[in-house]
Amino acid sequence: MCGIAGLIHKDKSVNIGSELQLMLQALKHRGPDSTGYALYGDTDGQNFIMRFKVGENVGEGSNAVNEETSVYDKRKKIVDKNLSDLGATIVKEERLTPYSFRYEIKYDKDLMEFSKKIESAEMTEILSIGKSLELIKDIGDAKEVCDRYNLDKITGTHAIGHARMATESGVDIKSAHPFWGYPFSDVSVVHNGQLTNYWNNRRGLENKGMRFMSECDSELIAVYLAEKMRKGATLEEGMKDSLKGLDGVFTYFVATKDSLGMAKDTMAAKPLVLYESDNLVAMGSEEIAIRSILPQEIDTYDPFDGEVKVWQI
């Protein structure tokens, strides 16, 4: 059992980090191990924002190996050199925790080659690349992660997030949601459920050059959709295709720079409550997530089995 939440403001920018934190905190009982945010923030759209980590959080519940900060420093230097080799320019850099960073970079070439080069450094993983997407995930509940990364200050139009109860993989950042839709900029996915044809799909996608950073089945959705879009499918087409290609029980959200989508498997075995008005769509595993930002009486509903919906900002 995990909790997922998402929202999109169609006509304005708000304090999206703060709103998503409230929604995810309301779902803490569904997943206390780790929390992740994919926030689509207000930027000038000029530079790529790259969030990456060079190590793991060894906090409560984690089975990651404790490493010295000097080890992280060495890996960061390798990342910096790789960026230079790629012809990318670092415009701004922030160290958010000893093991995680936020870079603003100038780069205009292929993101797949870029990602392979950056992630060639040991224990280094790009959490996200985009001109709007800020993907943050770490061990702890929504409030703890929000405070650790100052997310309540981020404004934007839409966001998705995840409160994780680790089941089929470890308590660590690499297995936490959301997952970036490698190698597409600004694509992220969160998922609640279980995929039963994970390895079959993974082997096929790896043979096509797609990369997996974890053994979490949810990562498959991000890679699956990315591969469909790489072939020319729209986001909605890829999502509809996933209802046939992915086996199991699931509800997932996917977000891009200007859209938010949801898909529910054909058995409708995983919960989702949805509120939709002219200006706002808010959805979550439980209604209390929506109520955390909309306490007044509202009309909500459960999407049906096999339903796919996509909204634009």
Binding site: I288, E297, D302, F304, D305, G306
Partner: protein, 284 residues
């Protein structure tokens, strides 16, 4: 722990090779004796006055506290209780075992009014998953939409949703009636054993999958039939019952019931014999 004992007398199930042992000693298979009615005490019930009305604001309460407060108000004789600001909280109004007018001014989360026996509930909002699970008797009306597993395992009473409901409506139901004014999701009536489901709108895939018994009436389109679910002729008594039920439920009174599709168990996969004793609730 119950004792296991082999009996000499063979029931139908035993003759089919099933249930070769019966439980004796402390089991749930107790039967209510009407001669002992005066000595019978139904735990957790109160004499309430429907004209005695009060309001309860649960905005800042957790569900256990709110439910204890409802119980406390019933013990004081309040027969009409209005719950303000439920705000989608889970497990509100559960375990009410006597007559009561219970009105929620807002929406409920999961497991709302579960395991009840007797109350008349109106929810002026929506409900999440598993609303009225295990309802034994009474009436629950939901003014808006409902989540999945609506009326799971109910044994009696009327459960009405004026909007649409999610998947697995009436899963494992053993009696009572579920009425849906809008559409219903996949697996409606999944493994139902007794009772009736009425859906005025469309239903999703696998309708009545693995149903043992009971009847489903659908007014709209059917996504697909589940295993062992088949159509049956709509009789004049079915139509009369549907008209009466929809009128009492204050929903779809003008609906043309003659166009409804009736679905029953095909019983090709049928190996169900041990029906639920109606006296069972007397033993609780």
């Amino acid at each position: 722990m119950a004792n296991l004992k082999t009996t000499g007398k063979k029931s139908k199930a035993q003759s089919m090779g099933m249930h070769t042992e019966v439980l004796t000693g402390r089991t749930q298979q107790k039967f209510f004796n009407p001669d002992e009615a005066e000595n019978f005490y139904y735990f957790g019930t109160y004499d309430v006055d429907f004209n005695k009305r009060t309001e309860l604001n649960v905005k800042d309460m957790e569900a256990p506290e709110a439910n204890k407060k409802i119980d406390s108000l019933m013990s004081e004789g309040y027969g009409t209780i209005v719950i303000k600001n439920p705000q989608g909280k889970h497990s509100l109004g559960v375990g009410i075992l006597n007559k009561l007018n219970l009105i929620f001014e807002g929406s409920l989360g999961y497991f709302g009014v579960g395991s009840c026996d007797g109350p008349n509930v109106r929810i002026n909002g929506r409900v999440g998953w598993s609303c009225a699970q295990n309802l034994m008797a009474g009436k629950v009306v939901v003014e808006k939409n409902a989540g999945s597993s609506f009326g799971a395992a109910i044994r009696g009473g009327d459960l009405i949703c004026k909007g649409s409901v999610g998947a697995r409506t009436g899963i494992d139901m053993k009696g009572g009636t579920i009425i849906v004014g809008g559409d219903a999701g996949a697996f409606t009536g999944f493994m139902m054993q007794r009772g009736r489901i009425i859906v005025l709108g469309d239903v999703g895939i696998n309708l009545g999958d693995s149903m043992y018994d009971g009847t489903i009436f659908i007014g709209g389109k059917i996504g697909s039939f589940g295993s062992d679910a088949v159509t049956s002729d709509l009789t004049s008594s079915d139509k009369d019952w549907l008209k009466r039920k929809l009128k009492v439920a204050e929903i779809g009174e003008k609906f043309d019931v003659s166009k409804m599709t009736k679905i029953v168990a095909g019983k090709k996969l049928w190996n169900y014999d041990n029906l639920e004793p109606t006296e069972k609730k007397g033993a609780i």
